[in-house]
């Protein structure tokens, strides 16, 4: 933009309306941020000082320590942070890839293909998202333990199935990502059908239409799905915690849960400063990821076939 436009834009920022927006967004933003600022400063406490300090609005220790932050970056004898970080990353990439692929394909089918029972099937799939996940936890555990021919099982029994193997992370990949499909469906419905028709006339097959014609238009929405899936997977601790035990399979959130539960052994005072620092650290990569992609998210959602 030219410099005169820029100065105009700057001048606009000082209009009462704009000043008001800045004040509200910044003010409430800081309020929202406050618990996290609090967490950062708690990270400088030693367990002992935290125990005996009466906390003010923004507490800072008399004898600040880096030890909690050092554990975050170097790990400890009990916790190889780098290994968990790598596991988290691999798992996140894998899940995100499949979530995108299944959402795109299924979204296309539900938006474009005509077949009997389409709406019903879609609603049925959506309905499953309303079931509390707790209910499936034990059956899933049993299913993993009884996975045929895996982990020393003869058909169903005898071994531990796929529990405590990489399979618990990998196996869910190819199954349909329903919420993603919902969004892609909304988004594709906004794309004029003539685009498909024209491609068909040129002799394009279904998959060429999906990947060469529609996918480029869906990039923003794909970015949104990627981010939400990646964040969800990154923060998920139930899967690693519940279905694995071995150290080499742990991810960051699971390892943190373990560290905090070690601190919660009978009678012990939990090392809150350490736990808080570690959980803050876990969210850091997610935050960085979000900051760089938030632009795409907004554009992605704007594409969901929303028309005035």
């Amino acid at each position: 933009m030219s410099s005169s436009e820029l100065t105009k834009k700057i001048a606009v920022q000082f209009k009462p309306k704009y000043l008001f927006a800045h004040i509200v967004l910044l003010g409430f933003g800081l309020l929202l941020l406050y618990p996290l600022i609090f967490m950062v400063s708690v990270g400088f406490f030693s367990k002992e000082e935290f125990m005996t300090t009466v906390l003010g609005l923004l507490p800072f220790p008399k004898n600040p320590t880096w030890s909690n932050y050092l554990v975050l970056f170097n790990g400890s004898a009990d916790a190889a942070i780098q290994k968990y970080f790598l596991n988290s990353t691999l798992r996140t990439i894998y899940s995100t890839f499949w979530a995108l692929l299944t959402a795109l394909l299924a979204g296309y089918v539900f938006a474009r293909l005509k077949f009997r029972g389409r709406e019903q099937l879609f609603l049925a799939l959506l309905a499953t998202q309303m079931i509390p996940a707790t209910i499936a936890l034990i059956p899933t555990y049993l299913q993993f333990a009884r996975w045929p021919f895996a982990g020393g099982n003869n058909i169903f029994t005898g071994g531990t199935g796929i529990l405590d193997t990489w399979w618990v992370y990998l196996i869910g990949g190819p199954s349909i990502n329903i919420m993603g499909a919902f969004l892609v469906k909304q988004s594709i419905e906004k794309v004029p059908y003539e685009l498909d028709e024209a491609a068909k006339v040129d002799g394009a097959g279904t998959f060429r239409i999906i990947f060469q014609i529609l996918l480029p238009l869906q990039m923003p929405i794909m970015a949104f799905i990627a981010i939400t899936t990646a964040l969800g997977t990154w923060n998920d601790f139930i899967t690693p915690f519940f279905y694995t035990s071995s150290d080499h399979l742990q991810t960051l959130p699971a390892a943190i849960t373990r560290l905090s539960s070690a601190a919660a052994s009978p009678g012990a005072v939990p090392n809150w400063p350490l736990i808080i620092t570690l959980s803050l650290g876990t969210t850091l990569p997610a935050l960085i990821m979000f900051f760089f992609f938030q632009k795409y998210i907004v554009q992605g959602l704007a594409n969901t076939g929303i028309k005035g």
């Binding site: 049993l142 333990a145 199935g161 529990l163 009978p266």
Partner: protein, 476 residues
Amino acid sequence: MRKITALTGSMLLTVALAACGGGGNSSGGAYPSPGGAQPADTSKTAEPSESGGATTITVLNEGAVSIGVGKLDDLFAAKEKEYKDAGTDIEYTPGSPVQTFPLQYQKIMSAKLKEQNISVNTEDWGWGEPLIQKQTAGFLAKNIPDIIVGETQMPGFAQQGLLEPFPDDMADYVRENVSPAAWKPMELDGKIYGLAAQPGVSSLYWNKKLVEQAGIDPDKVITTWQELRDNAKAVTEAGGGKFYGGGVYAAPNFGGYLRYGALIAINGGAFSDENGQPAFNSAQNAETVALLRDLNKAHPPGLMVNNNEGSYFDAWNKGQIAYLIDGPWRVQESATAGLDLGMAPIPLSPGGKAANVTIGAAFHAVPKDAKHKEAAFEYIKVMYSKEIQQLVADSNTRSPILKEIGESKEYQDKHPEMYLHYQAMSGDVMGLPTFTKDNSKAWQIWGDAVVKSMMTDGDIQTILDDAQKRAEMVTK
């Protein structure tokens, strides 16, 4: 589409049936019938050890002695390095103070088990709610370590027949030589199902500085509930909102039940009858709840029933409450917080007699479905061996459970406070009951009734009667 639906349906059915075969139906076979006595599954105990003659058992970690997960022998080097880097002395001679308790504990375990050709692999399943969750699933899928560990859920597991009782000779030895706090809560129908190497029981602690400010002799030991009431009130008045009398944590959670459970027991009350049915509304319980109500007035508002156990002990550490009923770790914690502390057995009610509830105990037990039961019992034997118990004695945060060490002259002299605690462990000690059905609901009804009694002026007996009625509906 219809075909697909039909196909899917039949497939689901097949899988469902198959899974039942793995999980549910077998309850007629290998699983014992609920409640009834069942013959031990001998074919499993006699399982041959692994190739090379060595048996590897899987053991769940407990925070107080954990040094990481994996093969125990591989963990020592890293832990030693960590201690060294922190400038901690990793040497330990029995009989002298120990700074590296978990490391020494595991080293002794490893060495003693190696003599019997057993090696240990540790896993960490967390603690509290997540642990219970995972153990439940593990039991169902028969995917369970050789030694499991836990606190309030363990008697329940024993009741359901999920645990292997100690062999008779072992049980006899334990009864004879080990302090009841370590195994009594895990005793059921004359069999012992688990053991804690370093359990706790509650004692009365007081902050000498605060007590003195109320004009009370800080070295005088109080012995009755009335004194506790009066002193707590006096301190509260002296504190003028800066500090309070305190007493006991009584929130509606296990942290609360475990602590005031000792008061209930002292007054001859109980949470349940022998059949696991609620017994909430006895006159004894009402008296104990009345004490709690009085003590609540000697607390900062809301503190006594705060869901966060941490908040309560936080107030103690910060010198805001004068009296406290809690486990033995309080001695060391208070030293860290710089408090001058008095310690005595819990005061008695008129006509009451000394009793206690095991608290902060990591009960170790061998599941029925464990793959190496014999080796697992060897592990438990090492837990109450002289070497481990000497180490516990030297740690000075808990008391040893082996009578031989706890009752020695040397121990009395070296650790007077922990000896006091040891004596409390040797008295009439029990665990919290597990209700026959819908355990958590019954406990919640009780907990809510106590909170209601404390926070309102309603008639305590009426509140407890009502709770009893509701709890009976749930458990029957």
